[in-house]
Amino acid sequence: MRRVTHILRADVRRFRWPIAAWILLTAGAFTIEGTSPFVSDWRSVGSMQTGEALLALARAITGVTLIVLIVQAHALVGTTAFWLTRPFPPLALMAAKLLLLAALFLVVPAIAEAVLMSAYRVPPARIAGVTFDATLLRAALVVCLAVGAGLARTLARFAVLAGAVLAAVVLLGFVVMLIDTWRSASVNATATLSVGRPMVFGWMMPPKDATAGIAACVVFLGTALLLLRAQYRRRARARVIALAVTVPVLSAIVWALWPWHVLQADPAPPVWARDGLSIAPDDSPPVVYRTQIGEADARQRVVRLPLIASGVPSGWLASARLVRATYTMDDSEVQSRPGSWPALVAVGETTSSFTSEFLNGLLDVDRTIGGLGFPPDTGVEILSVDDEQLPVEGASGRYRGELEVALLNVAIVARLPLKRGQVFQEGAYRLVIDEVRLDRTPGVRVRVSQALSSVGRTYPPVYAVFLRDSGQRVAIGSDSFAIGQFNPFTPVLASSFVYGWGWHFYTPWTSGFQARAEWVTFRTAHVRTYAPGSGGPVEAPPVEIEWSDAELVVLRLTDAGALHRTLEIDRLVLPKPVEYRLEGGIQQVFPGQ
């Protein structure tokens, strides 16, 4: 141990300037991240973002350079390194390097991050979770770089090696993409596998949990450490390079095949739903679409039927996704494919415009403009088969299907007066009104921060805001649906980590801390909405906001589990199919247009 500290101290003394630079840059980066939401001047924001990007670049370069310098201080390659004929115990050397790297690249950022998060009032348990995730990822990256550094003699050679590896990865990705594109060349990029609006109901699909990602990360870290150890003990460079390929391969295998979803959030459906929830069709006729996916594939026929869920208390929404179905005609029987995307099920009496009714009831207004980001209702997909399996003109038969019904709880969690400094905080989510602007496009500027960690075992809820005017009894949804959503592609601090690609509330499953200022705007002008098959645009009259009466209502949307329900229709008549065309949308019209 004495020798380890001796080597460590010598390294610190040798690299004291780059180390100081790294610490300063880290402190600077975290400080800017922490203070950037407070900057209100638009001009400063621009330069601040440029500064942030430059700082991130400087930090990355300094960090990588420092790691390589520290490892190469006692070169593991070549025959002229000073320590090779000296009694430096190889594992003591490795321990000294790893300790220094851990102190600089794990401890320092973790402390900075913890300070930042507590400044934003993140609860301690969440701070610990985020720190765990971030430290694990950073450790894997650092050890990976250390292995690479140990395989090259100088910084320049390492740069060449790293460049070669990156080029190989990019090339591989390109090749994979080419193969994939060639294989699915016939798929029309815009027509997805679903009929209806694409991109919508991501929140209804259960996301992949983070356990596989964490396990893969641990495997990556462990195997990289073993490689590093082998390099320190044997200096068998060729063998280590050959083995180094196994590290990402092994991790990828673990990621793909990990079976135990320990960390997966598994919300249990609420008590009332188990016995009380039932799904039934309403009186509307089904709509049958004929669609073709790509040039070469067979045409498909998809049946959509508006459904009503009963037994659902207020504040709850439901969506249904087809699991399997059988349609029995006189002379034949067809089995359906599973449905692609879920669709909202009407809650209440009727199936048309029930979301507006739902929101009106929830927000206690007469009219709601904009909504929860869900499109107008088009019915639920209940049957999906090949076109030639059904008669051309239509059919009649007995239907039996199984649907997965997911429940979403929508609750008001805050009513904030439109004043600067108003705060809403729940868990690690914090929203503070910074500025209120009243002009042609009203809006508020909020500072919003969120911290997510993989060990929390909960789906992070989505927060939406509505501007509510009690005088006119109208509520307006914001332009961007969810406020303070995690953007996993913010590269600044490497404190967000994409563990898996399940789309939950429009974001991949991530971990980390983010704070930013957001402009939330509310469209009060003419709004026309189109719905496919609805027969034309629907106009809504403009809204004048009485700001003295207005407030900001914060809604929380929480995933609440799923149940299976059976749908049986004795006689389901399928009309002649119509060709599906992607149409519809929301168009904003300004007065005078």
């Binding site: 010598a10 025959t79 090779l84 004929t85």
Partner: protein, 302 residues
Amino acid sequence: MNVIETQALGRRFGRVEAVRDVTLAVPAGTVFALLGPNGAGKTTTIKMLMNLVAPTSGSATVLGVDSRRLGVAEFQRIGYVSENQDLPDWMTPSELLAYCRPFYPSWDEALASRLQAALALRSSGPLRSQSRGTRMKAALLSSLAYRPELIVLDEPFSGLDPVVRDELVRALLEVPDERPWTVFVSSHDVDEVERLADTVGFMLDGRLVLAERVDALLARYRLVEVVWPGDVPPRVDAAADGWQPQGSSGRTVRFVDTRHERPDAMERITAHFPGASVQVLPMTLRDILVSLAKRPLHPEAV
């Protein structure tokens, strides 16, 4: 007990055999000088002994341990100085000493001071701004202060002026006391090592052409100069009796007698050159090695 032993040691780089079939033994307490021209394979041999490079054939044993398994325990008893070793050149000489000290349990501070005096080494700025001689001195100091049992020097004198060379040798001789002390030094410069070495090995084109005690070598090599009375002197046959012709000019014939320790050595000469005037001159080690390097390789004639 042999401190260093090699058995048909060889190293191949691609197609080139830098070292082949080197077999030598260095007993404890002796100084072995490995000599030879540049590129003969001396540095590669030393690198194999120090486990910097793995042999591709044969084996070597250092301090009783296979060279491929040299570890902390052995390196605590070995001092290695090489002209192509990367010293930590951001350190000053005293920082270098302080850096090395904790790794050697047998570090002798008093010896370190004496060595510093013998080397006339003043601690100054970082090594990278020092002369070659100072760097070599610092390296030597940090490799001798713990009184190693085996000292391996790879071309320690190259590029250094005579004063510095003298100081290096003086420091080297400061080390041995009652405990055993073995030196393995390679050089392409004979003069410095001639006095110091007990045994000399000569490498040429990767092979160990000769390995012999210096006094025995000096005893049997003689340069013979014959002035023939007539016009055409008898030829000297290359392989005859260990004679190596060194050319002739006019009536004067020169050759190297490599077996002059034999009692009948003079008789053979006078028998071959009856009536000629014969001068037998001793050869320095340098002369011997030059003659070895110049002749074509006849192992039996060595």
